[in-house]
Point group: C2
Chain length 428, copies 2
C-alpha cells in the first residue's frame, strides 16, 4: 500500500517535476503541499554542504537556490518521502532516491556531483565525523567469508556486463595515459607496462599477484616480461575467465590463477604486486597483508601496491559502501603505511594518478551510457541508474579530489639494487 | 686525576691494541686483567646486535669474534672504562669512547658502521623499543627558544668550518646525482634545479622557504626561476652569510632572509619549500607546521618537503641526538603525513633518494678527511673525531638503509592544475 502510494506520487511528480523545471506554476494538491519547515530543513542541509551551486526544485515547483551563482544543475525532488530521506541522511538518501527515480538531476550529473564534493570539502563537511571515525574501520572486519561475500556482490554479476564498457583486456582499474587523449585500450596496456617497469621485472622471476581481476596484468607480465605468476582472487567468475584466457594464450604453464584469499598465499617470490585490491582489504587488515608480503618476498624482493586512496582518513561514501563495494575503504597514505612500516619495508616511490582515474572513468561512463539499453535487458532500470550514479560519482570524486589513486613502490629495507633515478620510467 | 689515569691507559693501550691486532701475546698487568664475566657480557652485547662481522679486541690482546665470517674491521677497546660504557649503552658508549680515543676502529670506519647497522636490523634490535617509543617524541618539545639553542649548537660553529668540506654553494643537504659519477658541485646544482622543477615555479611567483641554510636554494630560485623568496632560518651565522650573498649577487631585492622561527611565518605564497629543516622540527610539531603551510599557501598553492626519514618510526640515534643534532628526529612517512592529512593537502609524489645521500656523504667525508689538519687547528682532536664519526656514521646509515631521504610534493586538495605525468622532470 505504502509502495502504491509512492508509485502514485512518482507518477504525478514526474509531470510536476518537469513542469517545475519549466518554472510552471501548476498548483499541487493539498496533501502534497510543501511545508515551510521542510524548506527550512532543506536550506539548512544545503548550508551544511557549503551551499553547492545547485537549485533544488520541489514537486510543487518551488526552487531553493544553493548560491547566488548560476546553478550547475537542477535537482528535482519528486515527493515528500524523497525529501525526508534526503534531509535525514543526504549522502545515503540522494543515492537511494536517485536510483528510485524519485530524485532526478537535470543538467550534467558528473558536474552536479563534482560541485557537491567540492562544496562539501570547502565547507569542512564531514571532517569532524572523519576525525571521530578515523581510528575505527568504517566497515566490519573483512574476515575470509565476509571478504568472499563482498567480492561476489560486485565482481560476480556477469562478465558480459563488464565487457560492455571495459577495454578488451577487461582491466577494471585506473589506466595510465602518457597523454590525456590516448585511447582507453592503449592506456590500459600502458598501465600494465608501467606497473611492470616500476617492478623492474626480469625474465625467469616469480611474481605474486594479490587480487588479479580478470587476469590482464598476470598474463601481460608472463607474456612480455618472461616471469612466472601466481595470481590470487576470490571472485569465481573472474578466476574462471582468467584461466580460460591463460589457456587460450598458451600461458597456463606460466600463470597460475588461484581462487583463494590473499591471506592464504604460499610460496616465495621476487616481486609482489596488487592492483586495485587494497580498497577491499579494510584498514584493520593492513598489518595482516604486510605480514603476507613479508613472508612471501625473497631477500631483495620488491613490490607495488596500486589503490584508490584519500587525502585524509575517511570512511567510504555510505551509499557506495552499501550498494557497490561492501566492506571497502580507500586508505590515506598514513593508513597505507601500516602495510609497510611494521615490517621495515622501504617505500621508494609514491605516485598519485588521480586525474588518470578521472579520464579512465570518462571512458567507462561514455561506453556504459552507450550500452544502457543492453544493461536494462540484462538487469532492470534501477540497476542502470545505480551503476550510472556509481560511475558518475566516481568520476566526480576523482575530478574534485575527493579520491586519489596511489601507486606505491617498495623494497626490503637496506636493499641497494634499486633504481638510481626514475629516469628509466620515462625513457622512450 | 681520573683523566690522567685514562690518559695513561690510552698511552699504554695504544701499544697493546696494535700488538693485539698482530695477535701478540703480551701479558697485561694484573689490574688490567680482563674478567671472564666481562667477556661474557661483551659476547651477549654482540649477540643482541645480531653478531656483526667484527672482531672486538681488548686491551690485553684477547679477541671476541662477532661471527665466523671474515671480520670487516677490528674494534679495539682500550680500557676497562670504555668496555663498561660500551656494554652499559652500546649506541651511546661507542660514540663517546671513539671520540675519547678509548675505542679505535682498525679497518674502514664506514664499512664497520654499516655492518653494525645491517646486523642490528637483521636481528630486529631496537624494534620493540621503537614500537614503545613510536607514539612519543624522543626529544623534548622544540619550543622556539629550544629550537634556537638546538640550531645554534650545530649550524653556528663557524661558516669557515663548513666551507672546508661542503660544495662552493654551501648546500648542506642531500644532492641529486643524475648519474652517480657526477661531481658534488654539479650534483648540488642539479638538486636545486630538481626541487624547482618539482615545484613548477613560474616567473613572478612568491615562494616561502622554511629553513634556508646558507641561502643557496632561495638565491637559485630567484636567479633562475624569476620568483621572489621569503626565506626563514634561526641560525644567526647562516642568515648573515645568506644576506651577504644576496647583496653580492644583486638579489637582495627579490630574496628576503628572515632570522625567525617557521612558526612565525607571515604572508601568502604560491609555493612552499623546505629542504632539510623537518629533521629538526620534532614529530609533535608537525601539525603546527601543517597549519603554517595551510595559512601561507594561496589557493592552487603547492609545496615540497625534503627530509631525512626512516622506514619506520624510530628515535634518533642517541649519540647523534646528544652530540650532533639535539632535538632532531627524522620521520617515517606515516609520521610525515601528520603535516598534510589534517589539512587536506594532497600528496602527489614521494621520492626516496637514500643512495643519493650516501653518495653526497662520500664526497663530504673525503673532503673532510683531506682537511682534518685545519679542523684540528680550528677546534681540537675530539672535535675532529666527533665529526668523523658523524659523517661516517651517516654515510653508513644511508648505505645500510637505516636512514632514508624523502622528497614529498603536495598540492591543495582538488587542485587540477598538476603535472599530468612526471615525464617533464626527466625531459632533457
Amino acid at each position: 500500500m505504502e509502495q502504491e502510494r509512492t508509485q502514485h506520487h512518482a507518477g504525478t511528480v514526474d509531470a510536476a517535476a518537469h513542469s517545475a523545471a519549466r518554472a510552471s506554476a501548476s498548483r499541487p494538491t493539498l496533501g502534497n503541499k510543501v511545508f515551510s519547515a521542510e524548506k527550512l530543513l532543506l536550506a539548512r542541509m544545503m548550508e551544511s554542504m557549503g551551499n553547492p551551486p545547485l537549485d533544488l526544485v520541489l514537486w510543487d515547483g518551488q526552487a531553493i537556490a544553493g548560491t547566488n551563482s548560476p546553478p550547475i544543475a537542477q535537482v528535482l525532488i519528486r515527493d515528500r518521502g524523497a525529501l525526508l530521506k534526503l534531509i535525514a541522511n543526504p549522502e545515503l538518501g540522494f543515492g537511494e532516491m536517485y536510483v528510485a527515480e524519485r530524485i532526478e538531476v537535470q543538467g550534467n550529473l558528473v558536474d552536479c556531483l563534482e560541485a557537491i564534493y567540492r562544496s562539501m570539502r570547502a565547507s569542512g563537511h564531514g571532517q569532524i565525523a572523519q576525525k571521530l571515525l578515523a581510528p575505527f574501520s568504517a566497515a566490519p572486519r573483512n574476515t575470509q567469508p565476509r571478504a568472499r561475500r563482498n567480492i561476489h556482490h560486485h565482481y560476480d554479476i556477469g562478465n558480459d556486463f563488464y565487457k560492455l564498457w571495459l577495454d578488451r583486456n577487461m582491466v577494471y582499474t585506473c589506466a595510465y595515459f602518457p597523454t590525456p587523449d590516448m585511447a582507453l585500450e592503449q592506456a590500459q596496456a600502458a598501465k600494465l607496462d608501467y606497473v611492470c617497469r616500476k617492478l623492474r621485472l626480469a625474465p625467469g622471476e616469480a611474481v605474486l599477484e594479490a587480487g588479479c581481476g580478470w587476469g590482464a596484468l598476470a598474463l601481460h607480465m608472463a607474456k612480455h616480461y618472461g616471469v612466472t605468476v601466481r595470481a590470487y582472487n576470490i571472485s569465481t567468475e573472474q578466476i574462471a575467465y582468467a584461466r580460460e584466457r591463460a589457456l587460450a594464450e598458451g600461458l597456463d604453464g606460466r600463470v597460475q590463477f588461484i581462487e583463494d584469499d590473499y591471506r592464504n598465499v604460499e610460496g616465495e617470490f621476487d616481486a609482489f604486486v596488487s592492483v586495485g585490491m587494497l580498497e577491499h582489504v579494510g584498514i584493520d587488515q593492513y598489518q595482516a597483508l604486510g605480514a603476507v608480503i613479508d613472508r612471501s618476498l625473497k631477500d631483495g624482493g620488491r613490490g607495488l601496491v596500486h589503490t584508490i586512496g584519500r587525502d585524509r582518513p575517511s570512511p567510504m561514501t555510505p551509499w557506495i559502501e552499501r550498494n557497490i563495494f561492501p566492506g571497502a575503504c580507500p586508505p590515506s597514505l598514513s593508513q597505507m603505511m601500516q602495510i609497510f612500516e611494521p615490517f621495515g619495508f622501504s617505500v621508494l616511490d609514491v605516485e598519485n594518478l588521480r586525474l588518470h582515474y578521472a579520464t579512465t572513468l570518462e571512458h567507462w561512463l561514455a561506453r556504459y551510457e552507450a550500452n544502457t539499453e543492453r544493461v536494462t535487458q540484462m538487469f532492470d532500470p534501477a540497476f542502470v541508474r545505480t551503476w550510472r550514479l556509481y560511475l558518475a560519482g566516481s568520476l566526480a570524486a576523482f575530478r574534485s579530489g575527493d579520491m586519489q589513486l596511489f601507486q606505491v613502490c617498495f623494497n626490503r629495507s637496506g636493499e641497494n639494487r634499486i633504481p638510481w633515478t626514475r629516469q628509466y620510467l620515462y625513457a622512450p
